[in-house]
């Protein structure tokens, strides 16, 4: 019988550590004991499965999914697209990708966000999609604005879209943020800088993708997402999962 294999371990030198003093909120919200390492069991190599019944046709179009009929969100029109892959370069098909973000002025439609920038009546700021059989996904949205936040006296978040990805097992779960090539605030951001390796930070910066732009309409950025790989299940009839 074939069974899904365990996941490669989470790369704890590549991901940010729990405690990073320059991101002050981490100080009281990071565990102080070491994590206890476990072999994956069926509890972690399985995970929720979503289907097209969970998705509405406009869910990946943030320009229109909250807009009044015939209107659209204000801002620089962008496509964020790419593939969800695992560490072996294999596509992760039919997996749920969720997105939420500030509007073009840097304001979230969230009751706790009191920044000066106005709410855009035609922009909700969230969406979802499923990857296709090749792991491909895309969203159409507006480029989110930068906004200030309370950490040091004068910190600004670079433009970013929050992304949540399920993968094929609970152990593969990932929530991250997508930044945009050329933004000078990226290098100054204490949250970006929780990631120790510059090359790892670079994986969170979507590249301008001229070939995917729609001329006279929408500019595009490419953002590939890499989830933990899966081990081969050896001594089975065939290798599976990598």
């Amino acid at each position: 019988m074939l069974k899904p294999g365990e996941f490669y371990q989470r790369d704890r030198e590549w991901h940010p550590p729990a405690l990073t003093r320059d991101y002050k909120t981490s100080v009281s919200r990071s565990p102080q004991y070491s994590l206890i390492s476990l072999q994956n069991s069926v509890s972690e190599i399985t995970g929720p499965v979503f289907g097209h019944n969970d998705i509405d046709p406009l869910d990946n179009d943030l320009i229109h999914n909250y807009a009044k009929s015939g209107e659209s969100a204000i801002g620089e029109r962008i496509i964020v697209h790419g593939r969800v892959l695992d560490e072996n370069g294999r596509p992760v098909p039919n997996t749920l990708v969720e997105a939420w973000q500030a509007n073009a002025g840097g304001r979230y439609r969230h009751w706790k966000d009191t920044y000066l920038a106005p709410i855009d009546p035609n922009f909700g700021g969230c969406g979802r999609t499923l990857t296709d059989e090749n792991g491909y996904y895309y969203f159409r949205t507006v480029k989110p604005g930068a906004y200030p936040w309370r950490n040091w006296v004068n910190n600004w978040r670079p433009s970013h879209v929050h992304l949540s990805i399920f993968g094929s097992g609970f152990a593969q779960r990932l929530i991250t943020q997508c930044y945009f090539e050329g933004d000078p605030l990226i290098a100054k951001c204490p949250i970006v800088n929780t990631i120790p390796d510059k090359a790892a930070q670079g994986q969170l910066i979507a590249a301008l993708d001229m070939n995917a732009t729609i001329p006279l309409d929408t500019i595009a950025y490419k953002f590939d997402i890499v989830l933990r790989g899966r081990r081969s299940t050896l001594f089975e009839n065939r290798l599976e999962g990598n």
Binding site: Q9, D11, R12, W14, H15, P16, T20, T25, S26, V27, S28, R29, S30, P31, Q32, Y33, L35, I36, L38, Q39, S41, V42, S43, T46, P48, D54, D56, Y66, L85, N88, G89, L96, A99, W100, Y108, R109, H110, K112, D113, G125, C126, H162, S164, F170, A171, R173, L174, I175, T176, Q177, I191, A199, A200, Q201, Q203, L204, D224, I225, V226, L227
Partner: protein
């Protein structure tokens, strides 16, 4: 081909728009919520609730809790679970006055010989850069706990942090302590 894992970043303070809209009353749909049960769900219905407490002991008002569990017969959705049960739930801690998360679910069955019933938990919050995995076990299963391969991997004096307390009839309390003497056990898995 190999590529590095896409690094994790914090869920931030505004996840409710995208991830728990219905629970928070935003005019968007949600793909999952705090109630895992439906009319067809088979099993012993329970409530699981608790607070997330930061290092100062203050309840966290912007944590996101996800749970993943087997159904009452010990099967996961897509692997033989009964059709009325997805096994996946989501709740933010910003809705109730006491910043509790509150799930309605069923008591999970035994996933395999030697494993005690448990619910898998992921904790996300502003200030947490990598989500944290933990597990909820149930106090009435003490005999099974002695053999459970995960609980027995945890130092004996910390195991109690993974066992919910029976609060009232069919309700269990499971507080998540980020730090301090009762710091919850978190897993690297």
């Amino acid at each position: 081909m190999t590529a590095g894992q896409t690094p994790s970043q914090t869920v931030g303070p505004f996840f409710a728009l995208g991830l728990t809209a219905e629970q928070y009353g935003y005019p968007f749909t949600s793909i999952a919520g705090p109630d895992l049960t439906g009319p067809e769900t088979v099993g012993d219905r329970i409530q699981v609730f608790g607070q997330v407490l930061d290092g100062a002991g203050t309840p966290v008002s912007d944590a996101l809790i996800e749970i993943w569990q087997a159904d009452a017969t010990g099967n996961f959705a897509g692997k033989g679970a009964n059709a009325g049960f997805s096994g996946f739930g989501r709740a933010g801690t910003g809705v109730h006055d006491d910043n509790c998360f509150v799930f309605q679910t069923v008591k999970p069955g035994i996933i395999a010989e030697g494993h005690a019933p448990h619910i898998n938990v992921i904790v996300f919050m502003r200030g947490t850069l990598n989500h944290l995995f933990t597990r909820i076990y149930f106090p009435e299963d003490a005999a099974a706990h002695a053999a459970d391969p995960v609980l027995t991997a945890v130092p004996r004096d910390r195991r109690a942090t993974l066992i919910a307390t029976a609060d009232s009839d069919r309700a269990y309390r499971f507080d998540i302590h980020m730090q301090g003497a009762h710091e919850t056990v978190f897993f690297d898995l």
